[in-house]
């Protein structure tokens, strides 16, 4: 749920990176933190195990001059991807305004990807939201690895809800490929919905395409 503070002229929005374990959610935030200019970011905080597996969440605030007359602050979170942390994912997902669903493109990760997307759908439903309404994009990560599924296959499996295609992006997160493109894309979708809900003027290029 977004938050508008007229006293400080701030808008706060929450974006969550979701996906199965080791798909690249934390890497996305690490790369953004490394590459973005200092004025636009806060510190990256990771609550992780000693093996660098996300235990609770990663968190990083970003700011941008996206809305005229307001400072826009994005709270970026990742969820823990391992199956046993479902309750934690629910807590982190609470109040999300947009989701980047990160897909591990490797063939042997397909089942985990599918289960993770189903899990996202279930957790959204529990908080009264759904994949049909919340802004989200698909990031097909690890495109540089040898045993990856073709993009068309991934689109068929993950981007086929009721004939409506969501924006999707190929990525190699450690190299930064597709990372900022994904970030800008989800920010635009989230803000378009925000201004639409408040009777403002959204950008003409909608990003949604019918299959």
């Amino acid at each position: 749920m977004s938050f508008i503070n007229y006293a400080t002229r701030e808008i706060q929005l929450k974006i969550v990176y979701y996906g199965c374990g080791l798909c690249g959610k934390t890497t996305n935030l690490q790369v953004i933190h490394q590459m973005i200019r200092d004025e636009a970011k806060g510190s990256l905080t990771s609550l992780a195990t000693s093996q660098d597996r996300t235990l609770f969440f990663d968190f990083m605030p970003l700011s941008a001059d996206a809305v005229r007359g307001f400072k826009t602050k994005f709270q970026m979170y990742t969820v823990p991807g391992q199956v046993m942390y479902n309750m934690t994912r629910r807590l982190v997902l609470r109040g999300a305004d947009g989701v980047v669903f990160v897909v591990d493109s490797q063939w042997d990760k397909m089942q985990q990807n599918v289960e993770s997307l189903a899990n996202l759908e279930e957790n959204l439903k529990l908080q009264g939201d759904s994949l049909d309404t919340i802004p989200y994009i698909l990031q097909y990560n690890k495109r540089d690895l040898p045993n990856v599924a073709p993009a068309k296959y991934l689109e068929f499996v993950f981007n086929n809800r009721g004939g409506l295609r969501r924006p999707s992006m190929a990525a190699v997160a450690p190299r930064g490929d597709g990372v900022f493109e994904s970030l800008n894309l989800i920010a635009r979708l989230v803000l378009n919905r925000f201004v639409k809900q408040h009777g403002g003027k959204e950008n003409a290029d909608q990003q949604f395409k019918l299959a």
Binding site: M1, F3, I4, N5, Y6, A7, T8, I11, Q12, K14, T26, T27, Q30, V31, I32, Q34, M35, I36, R37, A40, G42, S43, T45, F56, F57, F59, P61, A64, D65, A66, V67, R68, G69, T72, Q75, Y77, M87, T88, L91, V92, R94, G95, P174, R175, G176, F180, L183, N184, A187, R188, L191, F194, V195, Q197, H198, G199, G200, K201, E202, N203
Partner: protein, 161 residues
Amino acid sequence: MAFVLTAKDVQRMNGVLNQLMARAEAQGGMVCDFSGHVLTEVGFDSQDPMLISALGAGVFAASRELARLLGEDEFSSVIHQGEKRGLFICAVDRDTLLVVAFSVSASMGLVKLYARPAVAELRALFAAVQERAESRPSDEQSFVLNDAKEWFGSEEKPTAP
């Protein structure tokens, strides 16, 4: 929909926090929501309020689930106490939290005692905010996005994380 606060709402909240801090001899007070957004804060100058809010919301949400596992509706508050400073977190309503930072020289009992009327005042304020949001649309300006191809750009190639 969004959670909307006017300048008057923030002024009132700051008044509640300042009074709480004066009475309880606390060092910092913050109101945040369960998503981790900072609604307002007083006294957290050298720390990162957004980070405290995100972590505090996470901690309280986790404690809530632990309480449910133990057959409780929720734990009314969460207290963390270090050698020099402590943190008190309690729910204002189902969407918002009160976070109070105090030094160990202050009395924990005072913090808990004065947090209660502060929570009651904040709860009444948020009830009014909710009622306002439901009864009439905001008469503040509508929002326009800045024309920009990208709001976030990269400055350098990453080294392997």
